[in-house]
């Protein structure tokens, strides 16, 4: 069986989901980043409004487009607007 994707949730996304990290199963051939985000928001509806102002990060790099393929074992993160300092 394929390894899941590790989904990291920060700030408002973490609060909306209630967890800092999820394991998400994807097909062996991977899943488009946009579709993965949609699936997570369908499971956690409070995440939907936060996703609209967030950036998606795939293996530490910003996702270049919603069709970018996320594969089993990858790391996927949701970055709401930053607020360090």
């Amino acid at each position: 069986m394929a390894r899941p994707v590790t989904v990291l949730l920060f700030a408002g996304a973490r609060v909306a989901v209630g967890r800092a990290e999820l394991r998400w199963s994807v097909p062996a051939g991977g899943l488009a980043a946009g579709e993965l985000a949609r699936q997570i928001a369908a499971e956690y509806p409070r995440l939907a409004p936060i996703l609209r102002s967030s950036r998606l990060v795939h293996n530490g790099e910003y996702v270049r487009g919603p069709s970018e393929t996320v594969r089993p074992g990858d790391e996927f993160a949701i970055h709401p607007p930053y607020g360090g300092g």
Binding site: F10, A11, R14, A77, H79, P81, Y82, G83, G85
Partner: protein, 147 residues
Amino acid sequence: MASVRLTDRPLSVASAFRALEARGAGGVTIFVGRVRPDPGTGGRVVALVYEAHRGPALARFRALAREAERRFPTLGLVLWHRTGRLRVGEISVIVGAACAHRAPAFATARFLIEDLKVTVPIWKSERARPARRPRRPRDRRVGRSAG
């Protein structure tokens, strides 16, 4: 030379200054961010919790340092941020620049903190003391033996 750091341990201004030592550095500007007791939504802030996406945050720190070195004539840079729970008054961030002269030292430090706040994957959330006491009657049961 740039020093980048993302740590859950306290940050020290003296250490940051030492990290900026460079022969020829006539001007050193350091900016220190501290937790303020501002009224938050839930009352008076008693602490802030900083979380970071560590790998991308450090990568962005390094890219930001390279960008500052391209833009300004720097001899040393510091980009340090703390994570975890910080009480009011504790240092959350230190950025600093060592240059030959004061004008670029100020410009570089300002550039670092302005960019850091909007491009580095770090977030803060408030931990507040409630602004008012709860209105519910307290349990005044008589005869309860104390202790």
